[in-house]
């Protein structure tokens, strides 16, 4: 396996596009321009084929049979775990736990680690730019425990200044849960520095990496993270599968999340003992096919090299920011400096409501996201109730950015007639 940072395949967008059958689709008579990648990405043939192959050739239950298919399914399932571990530079594959998605990974930590470690008078620190999935579980827990939920603020540009962490993260902080990259502002947060702060007061740090792992090299050891969560569907993989990574000792000490088959070692009529990691957290028949297909997605990204993926998106973001800002009719949320943000651009048009813009662009085959982006408090803090968002991935091109910008101009013309 090659190093995920550098890749072994030339980053050729035309060749990449040829791997994605859906890019051949026409939408309302136009070529599809898919710019909603922060919501979910499209899937290459390699991932689709992995799913079909699994069901056609291998399907069996894992960890419980001595027959050939069960052994092959188990091997495939565990190999995919190893690939994911390597992709994020996890020290041990047993630290990678399969979940349904980022949301479930976050809930798992809130319901187990935090349930056992957060008490009355303690506090939980998150940022003011979290996705609902990294707000609501903490609100619920804080409420239940009589703990305080604190927010790290961001400045007008949408950046977290480390000075502001002083006084927010303190000796009663038990966990700091932050997004690595905002799905609205595109901001990349200083996770490694926040980890230092968290550890200096004896707290743990959880990283919501739903928007970072798909788009940039992420190294859990370099970040010194304690927990890291992401979803396969935002990185070329199937829906219905996600990852919780955690430091071995923390996971080992945590109580299970769900109970049932596979997660136990021994059951008597009175009691049970828990299985080893990672199985302690994987009750019941797991999502075998999608785990294996996630391995195929990781292979695909590894071949391209995450540095190249990041570079490609930076170029597109740079180009798109320039085009969008030159229109003069839109306000972009978040950092204006492309070096401080990922390939997510949320914006508000002076006169056209995001929902009308979304419909008009869809008529032209262009898929964008509109609404509150599952971050209602954040969007409202900009004194709007909704925003439009474009977000890029490996198969997007500058000519698609052009198509989007001219679609936007066309829409302006339509509504000013």
């Amino acid at each position: 396996m090659s190093n995920p940072e550098f890749g072994s395949r030339v980053f050729d967008v035309d060749a990449i596009r040829a791997d994605f059958p859906i890019l051949q689709r026409k939408i309302n008579g136009n070529d599809l321009v898919y710019l909603d990648n922060a919501a979910t990405t499209q899937k290459p043939n390699q991932v689709i084929k992995s799913l079909v192959d699994y069901y056609e050739q291998t399907n069996a239950n894992v960890h419980r049979g001595v027959h050939t298919l069960s052994i092959e399914a188990t091997d495939g399932y565990e190999l995919a775990r190893t690939k994911v571990a390597k992709f994020i530079n996890a020290p041990r594959p047993e630290e990678v736990i399969w979940t349904r998605n980022t949301s479930e990974s976050l809930n798992l930590v809130a319901a187990t680690w935090a349930e056992a470690n957060v008490g009355e008078g303690d506090n939980i620190v998150i940022t003011a730019m979290e996705h609902h999935s990294n707000i609501v579980p903490w609100q619920q827990l804080a409420d239940k425990k009589g703990a305080e939920l604190r927010y790290l603020p961001h400045n007008e540009e949408g950046l977290i200044e480390l000075d502001s962490a002083t006084g927010v993260i303190d000796y009663r902080t038990k966990i700091v849960a932050v997004t690595h990259m905002s799905n609205v502002l595109g901001t990349i947060n200083p996770v490694a520095k926040l980890a230092e702060r968290a550890h200096s007061v004896g707290a743990v740090i959880l990283v919501d990496a739903a928007q970072s792992v798909p788009h940039m090299p992420v190294d859990v050891q370099a970040l010194d993270a304690d927990f890291l969560c992401f979803s396969a569907h935002k990185m070329l993989g199937p829906t219905g599968i996600g990852v919780l990574w955690g430091k071995y000792d923390l996971l080992e000490a945590m109580p299970p999340y769900m109970f049932g088959g596979d997660m136990i070692l021994e059951v008597t009529y009175e009691d049970a003992t828990w299985n080893d990691l990672p199985y302690k957290f994987e009750a019941g028949t797991p999502n075998i096919a999608d785990a294996i297909a996630t391995g195929a997605a990781v292979d695909y990204l590894t071949e391209l090299g995450m540095d190249n993926v990041w570079q490609h998106e930076q170029e597109l973001t740079d180009y798109a920011m320039e085009q969008i800002l030159s229109l003069g009719s839109v306000r972009v949320l978040g950092p204006q400096n492309p070096a401080l943000r990922g390939g997510v651009i949320s914006f508000i048009h002076d006169t056209i409501h995001p929902h009308d813009l979304g419909t008009a662009l869809d008529q032209q085959g262009i898929a964008i996201r509109t609404g509150h982006h599952c971050a209602m408090p954040l969007v409202r803090s900009f004194d709007v109730v909704a925003a439009a968002r474009v977000s890029f991935y490996i198969y997007n091109t500058k000519s698609e950015v052009d198509a989007f910008v001219s679609g936007l101009c066309e829409t302006e013309g339509y509504f000013s007639r």
Binding site: N28, G29, N30, H353, P354, H355, D356, T359, A360, Q363, Q364, T370, G371, H372, M376, V379, V384, V385, A386, A387, G407, E410, T411, Y414, F415, R417
Partner: protein, 150 residues
């Protein structure tokens, strides 16, 4: 209009764009008898609707807020329609609107009552936008019922 956006003409009829750009009855109502907010957080539509009710008829209506062209125009059309109507008449109009947007037949008499509002029927071709068109109507219906039952 022709071109890629030509299909949108059914959705954004001239009358809709007119109400969107210059919504009617946007002044707040003092000492309102019915006062409520409706919102559709998924799209970011929010309206504050106030009514003065006299002898079971809507004497005054004020709608403030923000939303997309469809929800905004629909709220404005609603404001025009309900003035002077009894709560039963409002209820009947809401029922006609619902059926109109679902693609069901409405009678000629119902169409007469709705007048310009029939322009909203184009929303049927854009099912995800039906919610936008119905937002203020459904809210009004509920609020009036609540007012009646005290």
């Amino acid at each position: 209009m022709t071109g890629a956006l030509g299909n949108m003409d059914d959705l954004y009829e001239a009358i809709i764009l007119d109400h969107y750009r210059s919504p009617r009855n946007t002044a707040p109502v003092e000492e309102a008898d019915v006062d409520f907010e409706v919102n559709n957080p998924f799209c970011g539509d929010e309206f504050h609707i106030q009514l003065k009710v006299e002898n079971d008829a809507v004497a005054k209506v004020g709608i403030t807020g923000r939303g997309c062209a469809i929800s905004q125009a629909s709220a404005s059309l609603l404001a025009e329609l309900v003035e002077g109507k009894s709560s039963d008449e409002v209820h009947a109009a809401v029922s006609s609107i619902r059926r109109l947007l679902k693609g069901e037949e409405i009678t000629d008499e119902e169409a007469d009552v709705l007048g310009d509002i029939e322009a909203l029927a184009g929303v049927r071709k854009f099912p995800v936008r039906i919610k936008c068109a119905l937002l203020s109507w459904v809210g009004l219906d509920d609020a009036l019922k609540a007012h009646q039952t005290g």
